[in-house]
Symmetry: C2
């Protein structure tokens, strides 16, 4: 990743890492940070890199079967229409379904509400050897919970530290965490919502409350910025991904995931049996 | 499905349905029942039909989001190397990961052993609108449990009725069940196991106990036949799929699934809001 000739002049992990250079309010949501290829090239690259991701995931899965306790967790956060669903379909869709632990977090159920907000998150953490995918996450509890004033400020404020400790524990137990904040512009969101209203096969994706949320855009931007500032840790880094161009956002997350897998330095697990003896037994069976 | 010109002279649901014509001991595991196309055509067809399956699955998912309680459950049973993993990857891999509830059932854990054998099955049933996939299932409890004498005969014998009632309840609550029994020949299994021993990237799939199981082949064939005879119901039919040719088995299961989805007679859900009013609100937002 990040080599010359592959379209990336700066690796995605560098270009997109949250920090002073990547502020929510200044973000060019139509940009393609780090990448200077066009849509056609990027789209082709997604397919190629999908195979790489798939191979890496199979290797993690194989190791998991033989006792390796590591896993990878992709956290997707973003406003409605940012493209979380399409990200799952087009990036995670490249890997073997049996190696994926996917969870979409909606409005908490009555049972979930009776528990600590991290209860449902704990239950959904990826098993050993799995790629976990969170479509929304515990970050809802410092985003919508804050903007919609579902809890007092003193409550959501202390959650940042709580979340950092929680993610520290997960990371220490072998989970590589990749957090992706997805951003579209207000105009792009309007276009995407309009499409959902135009197309019969998209009506189910539309929710009238999405329009209400648009009035709260500045409040959400502030909540996202604070989230990035307070929970962008080395053990659970945030990446800020412009999503007006769907192909770019998918390619970028593909690269972020590949980077996470490559840092695990995986190899096929050693056989835990005598290969030659087994060949003989099999031949005689 | 099953039309002229698409390679199928008999629909998969007819050609493969368990019954007197499809006896385990007589099965041509190298056959392609119902289909007279070749591998090249079949492989191309898998891709085409994968798009159809994907669209149907999205429609079920959409309805599930709006309160439709129906789901589809694919049960895969088969001896080692029959190709269950490849089936998941190559058939289920065509649909959106967020619409799939996949569970692989291994040797029961200590916790699972302390419960009724259907406990872990119940917990893994697909949620509303989801496509559930079982890689092995409760049928292990009348297969390996019987052949390996893990429980007395009186125990596994009464399980057939229990399973039929259980599946009746699931079907009544809106789950369309498709059960697939996958068969390879002893020779084909030997080749596939040998490949796992030859290739470093396949060692993790090999288990010395697989060779022990080969000695029990006739006992397993009998157990599979009894399972088919006793649990092949209209509400949860069994299909007998020859699997020496991987491409055929995948195409066949693709067709079985598409048939199950088509019988749901799905359409995009109606908008539960006033479309014109929302267009106006959105334009003003």
């Amino acid at each position: 990743m990040g080599n010359n000739g592959d379209g990336w002049h700066t690796p995605a992990v560098e270009a997109l890492r949250a920090g002073p250079r990547n502020q929510v309010v200044d973000l060019d949501t139509n940009g393609t940070p780090g990448f200077d290829g066009d849509k056609e090239f990027g789209t082709k690259l997604i397919e190629e890199r999908g195979s790489v991701l798939s191979d890496l995931q199979e290797m993690l899965f194989a190791n998991g079967r033989l006792g390796d306790e590591r896993s990878v967790l992709l956290v997707l956060q973003g406003m409605d229409t940012a493209g979380k669903g399409g990200m799952v379909r087009n990036v995670i869709g490249h890997v073997d379904p049996q190696g994926v632990d996917h969870t979409a977090f909606g409005v908490p159920t009555p049972e979930e509400k009776r528990h600590h907000y991290l209860w449902r998150i704990h239950k959904a953490l990826p098993r050993d050897g799995q790629l976990g995918v969170f479509d929304r996450s515990h970050y809802e509890d410092v985003l919508v919970a804050r903007v919609r004033q579902l809890v007092p400020e003193s409550v959501w404020r202390r959650r940042y530290d709580e979340i950092n400790r929680f993610e520290r524990d997960i990371a220490d137990s072998g989970t590589t965490i990749v957090k992706v904040a997805m951003f579209v512009s207000l105009d792009e969101q309007k276009e995407r919502l309009a499409e959902r209203l135009e197309r019969r096969d998209k009506h189910w994706k539309y929710n009238p409350s999405d329009v209400d949320e648009r009035a709260l855009w500045p409040e959400y931007q502030q909540a996202y910025q604070d989230m990035l500032d307070k929970t962008n840790t080395d053990h659970a880094p945030w990446y800020v991904v412009p999503c007006d161009r769907k192909w770019y956002s998918r390619l970028a997350v593909m690269e972020l995931l590949i980077d996470a897998f490559e840092r695990l330095d995986l190899d096929w697990p050693e056989a835990n049996f005598d290969i030659e003896a087994e060949k003989k037994r099999l031949a005689e069976s």
